[in-house]
């Protein structure tokens, strides 16, 4: 009798635990939440980003003054060989296509990195092997520039890959994203809003 009671209690406990953990409508198979998280000392995700990181501080005819915001990330998975940083403006039309405005593309960021400092140099390559292809206007970071009064949404994404990319500074965003496909271990995003 005691064994039966014990077994019943165990079963009820197991069922109770399973019920508590039973997810609501499940995500598609093989989908899992990201393990990485990205933060910045210079802005909060969802909030407005300050002028010094944007085209508002640039003066036409002079080298850009806008600097990339500081970014750091946690939760990098084992096996990460490199990172890719992509920043783009969701609100921009490029013809009638599904493209948008690229503001920053950097790949082969070392897999040991846990941050990008404020003001990453706007050069095609960095000493640590990072490659920054050209966006519309420059190599490296190009500050937000949406005209008033509508806030645009600038998504910063850091992608952890299981390999480096065999591409050069002439690669386009499409080239990089095609090369990343199948190598994404994890990622993290932040969203900044801005208008002049």
């Amino acid at each position: 009798m005691r064994n039966f009671t014990f077994a019943a209690a165990l079963l009820m406990a197991a069922c109770g635990a399973a019920a508590a953990q039973t997810p609501a409508p499940s995500a598609a198979p093989a989908m899992r939440p990201v393990g990485m998280a990205m933060t910045s000392t210079d802005f909060q995700s969802g909030n407005i980003i300050a002028d010094e990181y944007t085209g508002k501080v640039n003066i036409q005819g002079q080298p850009p003054k806008a600097v990339s915001p500081q970014l750091s990330w946690t939760g990098t998975p084992t096996g990460t060989q490199s990172f890719v940083m992509i920043m783009h403006d969701l609100d921009v039309m490029v013809g009638k296509g599904t493209g948008d405005n690229l503001h920053w593309l950097a790949f082969n960021i070392p897999g040991t990195a846990t941050s990008l400092p404020r003001g990453v140099p706007t050069t095609a390559t960095l000493p640590d092997g990072t490659i920054q292809p050209r966006n519309r206007t420059s190599n490296g970071y190009s500050g937000p520039g949406a005209p008033a009064p509508i806030y645009h949404h600038y998504v910063f994404s850091i992608w952890a890959l299981d390999s480096k990319l065999n591409l050069t500074e002439t690669a386009t965003r499409d080239d990089v994203m095609r090369a990343m496909d199948g190598h994404v271990l994890d990622k993290a995003h932040m969203v900044a809003r801005f208008h002049r």
Binding site: A30, P33, G46, K96, G182, R193
Partner: protein
Amino acid sequence: MRRFSFAVAILAAACGFAQAQNPAAPAAPRPPALVVTSTAFEDGGVIPDKYTQKASPTAPSIPLSWVNAPAGTQSFVLMLHDLDVVSNRSMTDSLHWLAWNIPATATSMPEGVPNTPTLTDGTVQIAHRNTHGFVGPGYPGPNYHHYTVQLIALDSKLDLPSTATREQVMAAVNGKILGKGVLSGRFHR
């Protein structure tokens, strides 16, 4: 000869003036951009529990409205997706709602749109997760996930059934987009 020189000088001056004005600028002022909002949360803000799996597995859809549909709009496409999900080492993320052929005359999606393959106004809602239409945010936490609403104005309707895939819909809208509006939300349980 003098007349020719004068004409050349005028032309050179005109060209110089145009260059200084930035030749890439459009000739006419742009119409105001498509803007999508919700009474439920502010742009960049947190989505209330009511519209999420924290409240119910069948939580009602987020109310949305929009203004400044571009001239020539024939339909809208609405997408809600969670940026912070990975799958199979690929570039994709997690879809929570995809609807197309929203009528060009529509200026809103009310709260609690039925989870049916089509709506009475002709809107088609993608089949996914054993349902159609809106599936509430559900990420347990502790970090916030980014749930992004994207409204796209098209110059035509799409000839796709509700069993079409997200990739098929995005391929179909490519080349038809007249305007975009974005609303950014965050959530964890």
